[in-house]
Symmetry: C2
Subunit: 141 residues, 2 copies
DNA sequence: TTTTAATATTTGTATATACAATTAATGGAA
DNA sequence: TTCCATTAATTGTATATACAAATATTAAAA
């Protein structure tokens, strides 16, 4: 059934969640090649871009709770894709060699994801949508 | 941090999820009075509107997996807000008296939610947003 | 009529996420 | 210098959600 045929198609809660789940599914498919969920993949990409980055910074930029970030890191550590070092109250997160090797594939996934959704939605349309949603999210802090 | 200040503010996955989580939070607050999560509340409202409704229908309209709907119903059954009767392979879901009593409060919550988000986003703006997101979700089936 | 395919729902299991409490460390005030 | 408040991160626990498999029933085909 289409989202707009639902009883609750006019409700913001409903529509936003429905959309997010569909996008999530598309993203999951795009990143399945590297065996990571989109969130794990984005976190790993941030660490690859800024080795030594701190969990709090990751939480800010991924807009996730610190505890969630800890859990994501744990999993990526289990997979030997990154490591944590703790000095004082600070923690630094670094990619492992195995994690670094993954970078090209991660970029491919990101590209595929972008290609897929812009093929469906149109490039301009999707850029616009992202902007709109971003603005709205900002207001809702 | 604002969503649009994030490293990933231009990514559809990121923005859609960030937005959905913020809306979800607002919705949770709005429905906390009745002690239900938004999903549970919407399901209950559908049952109140169409007593005897079937899980498959609920899944379609809430755009959730059948298994998820089963779990939501289970919880509402525990809370004595609705009951299931099974005939053959079909299941019918009915509100209990306690569930029916809740209707006015549920409507209040829905109203509060609407009032709150349209106060922040503007009535027209939010209506437009819902439409846009609905259309996009339709394309992403 | 018997067998097979399709359908509706539920279970088992896994996951991402959050909140609240906890731990540990730092920096400022007494 | 010692104590307290703030900060960074983690842990315990709970939740909504999904997927895949199982169950049970109905409809269709042989």
């Amino acid at each position: 059934m289409k989202t707009s045929d639902s009883k609750y198609c006019k409700c913001l809660y409903f529509t936003a969640n429905s959309l997010a789940r569909k996008i999530d599914k598309l993203a999951q498919e795009s990143w399945s090649k590297v065996g990571l969920s989109p969130s794990h993949a984005y976190l790993l990409m941030m660490v690859l871009e800024e080795p030594g980055i701190q969990p709090g910074f990751l939480a800010d930029h991924l807009q996730l709770q610190p505890s969630t970030v800890t859990r994501l890191i744990e999993k990526l550590e289990e997979k030997k894709l990154l490591v944590r070092t703790t000095e004082g109250k600070m923690t630094n997160v670094y990619p492992t060699p195995k994690g670094k090797e993954l970078l090209p594939k991660l970029k491919e996934c990101l590209n595929e994801f972008y290609t897929r959704y812009s093929a469906i939605l149109g490039k301009e349309e999707s850029t616009k949508l992202v902007q709109t949603m971003g603005k709205v999210a900002d207001k809702l802090v």
